[in-house]
Symmetry: C2
Subunit: 646 residues, 2 copies
Amino acid sequence: MLINLALVLSSAYIITNFAPAAAGSGIPEIKGYLNGIDTHGILLFRTLIGKIFGSIGSVGGGLALGKEGPLVHTGACIASLLGQGGTTKYHLSSRWLQVFRSERDRRDLVTCGCAAGVAAAFRAPVGGVLFALEEVTSWWRSQLMWRVFFTSAIVAVVVRTAMGWCKSGKCGHFGSGGFIIWDISDGQEDYSFQELLPMAVIGVIGGLLGALFNQLTIYITHWRRNYLHKKGNRVKIIEVCIVSVITSVISFGLPLFRKCTSCPEADPNSGIECPRPPGMYGNYVNFYCSNKKEYNDLATIFFNTQDDAIRNLFSAKTVHEFSAQSLLTFLVMFYTLAVVTFGTTVPAGQFVPGIMIGSTYGRLVGKFVVSFYERLNIEEGTYALLGAASFLGGSMRMTVSLCVIMVEITNNLKLLPLIMLVLLISKAVGDAFNEGLYEEQARLRGIPLLESRPKYQMRNMTAKEACGNQKVVYFPRVVKVADVLYILRSNNHNGFPVIDHTRSGETLVIGLILRSHLLVLLQSKADFQHSPLPCESRSGTLPIRHNLTEFVKPVSSKGISIHDVHLTADDLEMYIDLAPFLNPSPYVVPEDMSLTKVYNLFRQLGLRHILVVPRASRVIGMITRKDLLIEDNEDSNGVELQSTSS
Amino acid sequence: MLINLALVLSSAYIITNFAPAAAGSGIPEIKGYLNGIDTHGILLFRTLIGKIFGSIGSVGGGLALGKEGPLVHTGACIASLLGQGGTTKYHLSSRWLQVFRSERDRRDLVTCGCAAGVAAAFRAPVGGVLFALEEVTSWWRSQLMWRVFFTSAIVAVVVRTAMGWCKSGKCGHFGSGGFIIWDISDGQEDYSFQELLPMAVIGVIGGLLGALFNQLTIYITHWRRNYLHKKGNRVKIIEVCIVSVITSVISFGLPLFRKCTSCPEADPNSGIECPRPPGMYGNYVNFYCSNKKEYNDLATIFFNTQDDAIRNLFSAKTVHEFSAQSLLTFLVMFYTLAVVTFGTTVPAGQFVPGIMIGSTYGRLVGKFVVSFYERLNIEEGTYALLGAASFLGGSMRMTVSLCVIMVEITNNLKLLPLIMLVLLISKAVGDAFNEGLYEEQARLRGIPLLESRPKYQMRNMTAKEACGNQKVVYFPRVVKVADVLYILRSNNHNGFPVIDHTRSGETLVIGLILRSHLLVLLQSKADFQHSPLPCESRSGTLPIRHNLTEFVKPVSSKGISIHDVHLTADDLEMYIDLAPFLNPSPYVVPEDMSLTKVYNLFRQLGLRHILVVPRASRVIGMITRKDLLIEDNEDSNGVELQSTSS
């Protein structure tokens, strides 16, 4: 208990005092980042350090949480640091890494980092690729798939090599179970029609318990946010410590109250010993049993590492190892612990707890199926696996990636159709109640994730209506420094249209300038000029005094704030010509475009601003598919065009 | 030979006389369809029928081609027919299916159909999902993933159930090999560092041979198109028949020249008999051998079903079964046959031939590795699998989906990192020479696929430059029927901007009208009016005399042509008000937007037309992420917003 407490305490201390952004799983924030929202501090170097050491404490401390979410966050942090050429604050930057210094490349790198995290956590490279594509990215390109795939392949090779070195057990738990963490390839091979009904039941249970889990965590997070965590860091640490003590007491105490069971008759073919030899991992744990040929079924899952507990729950050829009473006890206690632990200020993943909960009720259903259809070749472990899939499906609402991860961690491809079936049911049931865990948590944290589907009422709205009566703040092309400062202080818009006048006196929208770029300009003062006229040079190109890479917003550090800008009275009287620094062709939509279309544009292209403009008065030209096939226009004359597109 | 000839002849006859669009694999055309190009006839009901019966003939006739591509095409055809509510021509339409009648839903359904085809062909449901996402679709939404996943799950359950019924072999070859077609899960489990070098070599060979295959098929397709196939259907049929005769002669004749080898000592644990008992499938085929304890290694792969040949090549515990000479002979002959067969007028897939070619040189490399590193636990079958992956990677350039398919058809997850490695190398090597097989074939067929990455020179081009000096053909809002007819006849544009005048006399672009919609209007005549004035009704809404579902372009039938429209002289003097029928908010871009941006817009949203308009004179508003979170605006006041996006 004391060791657990010490570990958890160290984790909570690191998080509260050093890296507050490292609390929780980090997946909602990463999802938000890839959706276009920068949550403060989520990719800092200190967050990375806090996440690594914090999860060592929280996972090692035996809390009801997993290491998978934190590993995803860790991967994303590393990727982001590489993407901005190391961290400048700690003097770890490298010049050649600066090639990645663009927003888009960095987002791609972070996506790869997420995939690497999942691939490393589950030793599931394909699952990692799919997780990154299905769960975290918002827009998707084939090049990205190729890059993510490459990352995952490297992870797989490295993990395998490392496990080869650790073969003889000299690295502790690392590598236990081999490359396939919970191998059940020797389990059930076939299934009959009658089994589909109990499997569907597992799907329904998974959907219900998953949705309930999401709902309870919403309530508890809300309560923590509005009440408990407002009282300061000390309360946060005490809370975690109490949870740790309760977890230790329950994990150790409950199995003590459970009577030991005598071992089943040994089957020499299965290779499973009862009770397991001391110092080994496996089924049939002898936990303070009076007789040497007895084992404690509750201790086999409760007083154990999570990996080993799951392996025991998934195990085949161990029919009737667990009593219904023990499974039910464990389910209720662990479910409660998982709900209570969720949202405390330690790094915490929800994958492994989900698998634990799911496999418990799955095994419970499996027990009934085994006793009901006596003659069939049914393994309780198969049902445990399906249960795990169903709970994760019911809570996180992933489909393809979860399916592939489940197959990759258990190495039983023949169960794939069943996993798919169970996932479909549990996701559908869960969707009837609430949204997925990550979406709900993102919403609670105020991260405005754009869902993939526009809301129904957008169909009847136009772009103009969405802008509301919000006043547009313009900049002229050449603007006085004092005006810039005033405008930036008076609102918190992130982008401003820039207007110029033609010689005939008409106004013309010439682009969009970002707040962050204006701040860089104000801070450096290099581009201030005395004349209120545009600074056309004789050669026709505009002189740019700034190195353009300075404008790339550093995600992993805080960026410039308006309070960092210090200007003299002389500076305020000067002017800036914005033309070289603006985005000359922001995306525009006509005022009466349907909001559904605008939404799709926004999400598919990952935009942050769209300008709403009046209907055009004339059309200069039309671009069709053929106009975009530049290279082919020259040599395709000989090819007869069968397509009807023109 | 005669049976093969008869089967192939029937296939070629069906294709040339009944369903010409069913020739080849169909994947480039489907890819084009989902990219936004309708190739004529590709999704017709007769194409479906031709594809099914044609591939029975061509695959059954023993040609060097596979059934996987045709199955993908078949799936897409079925999906498209469901999507337009059955086929009207053959009176098989159903009213309730008409709910799918929108372009977008039909494209989604076709994507699902492709996934179902792959899932059924390889019994690889996850592979099917990934194939559809990686290879065929151009744009991608999470809802689509969920739907595709559902389709694949159903396919998996149905295939498994069907195989359960056929267990005792009463359905012939169907179900042979079980749900995992080429199970090698009892093969090599581990690999050492030294093996990575020969595996990398396999990757390089795969890239080279794959690129060569693509290049040779380009030449031969070009030659066929410009020379041979211009001579009519009879030449096409004769060509296929000659290929069939050659294939039969080589498959039967070459093994005859090969001396038989005496059987290796029997290993009772492996369960492999030598020679295999008559009427069974498996290794060690006795083919006209004088001694009963002998087998013919060339016949084991050449005079065999393709499925069984691949199983033999992948098989473990059969070291030195094949001589290098036989493997080399088979490789050269089969490679040549596959190149020659590609592009003949029969339905043909390239997956299985690719696996055959790849596994042959893979096994060849494996032979050398086995003799070089004598002490290691190396299986030649592992190298055969990697060879297959490398050739497919080098030719088709798929990554994630191919990887998952290879794992799903062999059930050996532990080889996944190796498959990934080999694929990465072979794809990289192949990319150095030419594009993927499907892209090259699409280009040859004049299907203007938009690649995922814009061309480099687009960076310095503007939208206006892409339009060139092409004249824009306008329609006024109310247009004379004679003018419509004249304009439609004088060009072959598919979309026309519509211009209206405001009361102050300014022109205004009010939308885009499609050629196909104009043709429907001309044919039905229901909306003709005598007055040249807009037909505003008193209630403010426009009276629509047409059922809007009439405008959905039927993909699976030919659609209306300008020649189908018959108008009297009276009709020509009447007017149409286009306002109710146009697309009121087509996507527009300012004239000086970078073409790279336009390209991304085009591809990500799957557009067919973009209007290029002058720069806007003013900005009505800005839409940011927050404006699109409609639902949350009301109840999110209590939530503190941590994000910096505003």
